[in-house]
Amino acid sequence: MDRRDTKEVALNKQVFGPQVEASETQEGEMSWVEESGKLYRMPYKMIKQVVFSELDKNELKDIPYSARLQYRLLLMEPVLKAKVAFHKRFIRIIYNPTGADNIKPKISREQLIKFLADEGVHVRQDKIEERDYDYYKEFYQYAYFPKSIREAPPYGWTKEEWQKQKEKLAKQQYRKEHPTVLDRIRTALKPKDHATS
């Protein structure tokens, strides 16, 4: 367990000594990705996702206990994301596996299973699915470019009314972005607003 308030974190040397030593010979520990000629820090490249399914509901107890188990999993630094789904009876963990190409703290699947066993959740060996997880493509890219999953109309408008209004607004927006000569004259003649912030 690795937390800000434990002594180990103050200097990673005690726990992650060899990796820290190794990093001294490298040019910083980060790897980078390039997007449109710009570099972005990427602490992980290829990591692992493991799903333990068909867990015993009695062991997961209920949603609050599942949530706390998720919290405890997340306290471990090598665990990037965790999901303990009580109703669907699975645990999904995205973690930095032993042997990954980075110097961040690591954990093995066996250690995860042991941790869960210590927490009273025993996984079935035949219900373990593990795969490579591309941190950049699957996590980072989604967080930066999420898809729209719904469309909320403004207050006082039904969805149907809003659809019509939206088209009208889109036309107005287009006109704003591509003003005619008349629009330009109007803007120039319009008195300026107060200074704001």
Partner: protein, 705 residues
């Protein structure tokens, strides 16, 4: 970063109580009071406790006693040495260091003031609600049920919000750690009044965190369950800070990894915030650490402006801007028009952080035409006696101060229960103190909860069909009012001349009528509604210098940011924002939060999960993207932790012209007959300490030397 929270680290509850017998908290822990070291919980292996600090390296207490200014010899490293069986050596090293340390100046604000905890009178109405029997508590009327967390083990448990006399309390039971009782809101009447304006917002159309939030708040992000769009986006640009405040959890201590995203990375975060649907974030707060320590802060602001933010605030101590007024001008030119400046009190005692530099910072902002928001973190028994004085100070500087945003302390981290009882203050608690301290000029009925503004916003949306900024946060999170300073120096709260409740009812009626109507009919209904507005404004009581009707019409008709700005320019906004902690935690509040933190991995998190569970959100993610101190030093060979720290010359600052002008010649507006004629509580002009007043330019030149 402004000290919104107050981190007590891991002070064990039982030990805390034991220490109360000894008189002070400092007896029981390492004495550092630092952030999150947990040193009271565990015996320090170095055996040098009390002599060398706790040795945890995260609370800063090593820094106090360490001589070596060179960051390559980490303090924490010494603890590890000691723990590996070299105790004798470690102690010897520490003793040598303590001797040398005496020559070093002390870091500013790094000492926690002592608070005596042994004088809590359990029959005092202030503390009594904490000390009832469970039987008595269960007899109290229940207001509502919510979900909360156990402060000890973070188990999600049911919380009962109930009425105890005038207080609204929350109680919760963890099967392992038993009962926790905490104040939720210190005025039942205000609670019911504020609750009237509560409503659910729309959240995100494109949530960037998949999941329904069933384990909320342990799988937090902008998920489908979140109800409010980003109202104010916080972006941390560095975790370096030039101060080492004892209560702050948000800066890199010596030897800790440095988090300082590049300009490109920050630009990406800004664009991410601007791509949120249906309402993109429009107000940005650039925070830290101390954001002005980012070497490219001006470029960062320029990129934020380019990304489309209308309001860019800089959350800072103001010290760097005060000492470098040219930087303030550059920052303004780049696009930041608001300084969100920590200011915990008018006196040096209440505000050791930036009391002496505030006059310089205000002058720099005057010159650069930057608006200032004073941000006092309110802690009962520490600075709660200065709330009226702070407002008076703001009125004295109304040419540059546009708002005071009080933040009742968020007691993050475990702490002894008696200390918690003494220091806890909620929004109504602070509002009542303001009423007492300002002769009743600013009374509790003048305040409205933040979602009140939603009523105005809904009307604008119903009329225009465009999505507008939606302040649909939980009613218990924030409150505010506007003050006008009239020509005759009369302080007039807006609700003295506007029927605010009537206004929002009128607008809501208009919204209901507009449903299902065509564009022309909507406009007619709007016109009919707007025509009734003048009847809600008492022109006799309205400040002579303001035409409020015109201002309000401008906001409703123009529907833009500039109109809102015009109101700000003519008034002083006084607000309250109470962030949660584990004791007051209410999941209903979190899922409506609109103050968000954008992280470098693309995630956006509500303030009260980001800061209340730092171990799984803030610290965890920032650590992933941080650079170990050693690597930082490789890239910045001239960098030095000690050199980052600001050391002040109090004598010099106190004899400067801006200081004398700001603190020795203040007006007490509340002592004027038009405002009741009774001095504001704890008001006094400071004595001018030196006859030789140093002009500002000379002072800056001397400091620069």
């Amino acid at each position: 970063m402004t000290g919104q929270s107050h981190n007590f680290g891991g002070v064990n509850e039982e030990k805390g109580l034991a220490s109360a017998e000894n008189g002070t908290l400092a007896d029981d822990a390492c004495g550092c009071g630092g952030g999150g070291c947990g040193c009271a919980d565990s015996e320090q292996e170095s055996g040098a406790k009390g002599e060398s600090g706790c040795g945890c390296g995260s609370c800063g207490c090593d820094e106090e006693k360490t001589a070596s200014p060179a960051p390559q010899t980490s303090n924490a490293g010494k603890t590890i040495q000691a723990s590996s069986g070299k105790q004798g050596n470690a102690q010897a090293q520490v003793q040598v260091q303590v001797q040398v340390k005496k020559e070093l100046p002390e870091e500013i604000n790094s000492k926690r003031p002592e608070t005596k905890m042994d004088d809590v009178n359990t029959s005092d109405p202030l503390y009594a609600p904490y000390h009832r029997t469970m039987e008595d508590m269960e007899k109290m009327p229940v207001i509502e049920k919510t979900m909360t967390v156990c402060p000890e083990c973070k188990l999600i448990i049911e919380g009962t919000i109930y009425k105890d006399g005038d207080n609204v309390m929350i109680r919760k039971f963890c099967p392992e750690h038993k009962w926790t009782v905490e104040k939720y809101w210190e005025d039942y009447d205000m609670y019911t009044k504020m609750k009237r304006y509560n409503y659910f917002g729309r959240g995100f159309d494109n949530p960037n965190y998949l999941g329904g939030g069933e384990n909320c708040p342990m799988d937090c992000g902008m998920c489908e369950r979140h109800h409010t769009h980003t109202g104010l986006a916080n972006v941390v640009v560095t975790n370096r800070c030039h101060l080492s405040c004892w209560y702050c959890f948000f800066y890199a201590k010596e030897g800790e990894p440095i988090y300082e995203p590049s300009v490109h990375e920050l630009d990406k975060i800004f664009k991410n915030l601007r791509s949120a649907k249906p309402i993109a974030a429009n107000a940005l707060q650039i925070t830290g650490g101390e954001p002005t320590m980012h070497p490219e802060i001006v470029e960062v602001i320029r990129l934020a402006k380019k990304a489309g933010f209308d309001q860019i605030q800089l959350n800072t101590t103001g010290i760097n801007l005060g000492l470098n007024p040219d930087l303030a001008v550059k920052i303004k030119q780049a696009g930041s028009g608001t300084l969100y400046m920590s200011y915990d009190g008018v006196t040096a005692r209440a505000n050791p952080k930036n009391h002496w530099e505030t006059p310089l910072a205000l002058d720099a902002c005057r010159k650069a035409k930057i608006n200032v928001v004073l941000v006092p973190t309110v802690i009962r028994t520490i600075n709660d006696h200065e709330l009226g004085s702070i407002i008076n100070f703001a009125l004295n500087n109304m040419d540059v101060v546009r708002a005071v945003n009080f933040q009742p302390v968020s007691l993050v981290g475990r702490m002894p229960s008696r200390l918690r009882e003494k220091q806890r203050i909620t929004i109504p608690g602070a509002i009542k103190l303001i009423e007492q301290q300002t002769n009743g000029v600013i009374r509790k009925e003048h305040w409205f909860s933040v979602p009140y503004v939603g009523g105005i916003n809904k009307f604008i949306e119903a009329l225009s069909g465009e999505h507008k900024y939606d302040l649909s946060i939980h009613f218990a999170c924030g409150a505010g009012t506007y003050l006008f300073l009239d020509k005759d120096n009369k302080v007039i709260p807006v609700t003295d001349f506007v029927d605010a409740a009537g206004l929002v009812e009128l607008l809501q009626k208009g919204v209901d009528e507009m449903q299902g109507k065509g564009s022309v009919q909507r406009k007619l209904i709007a016109a009919k509604t707007l025509l009734k507005i003048p009847s809600l404004i008492d022109k006799q009581k309205q400040p002579k210098s303001v035409n409020f009707e015109k201002l309000l019409m401008s906001i409703l008709l123009k529907r833009d940011f500039a109109s809102m700005g015009a109101l700000q320019m003519k008034s002083l906004f006084v607000g309250m924002m109470h962030f949660q902690d584990e004791y007051t935690y209410d999941i209903h509040r979190v899922e409506k939060c609109d103050i968000h933190y954008a992280q470098p991995d693309g995630q956006v998190l509500p303030f009260c999960t980001f800061n209340v569970f730092p171990e799984i959100y803030r610290d965890k993610i920032q650590k992933q993207y941080s650079i170990p101190a050693k690597d930082w030093l490789k890239v910045h060979p001239d960098w030095n932790y000690r050199a980052d720290k600001y050391m002040r010359n109090v004598k010099l600052l106190e004899s400067s012209e801006p200081y004398v002008r700001t603190y020795c010649k203040m007006q007490d507006y509340f002592a004027m007959p038009v405002n009741g004629g009774k001095p504001v509580a704890n008001f006094s002009n400071e004595m001018q300490k030196s006859q030789d007043v140093i002009p500002a330019e000379q002072l800056l030149a001397q400091i620069a030397k």
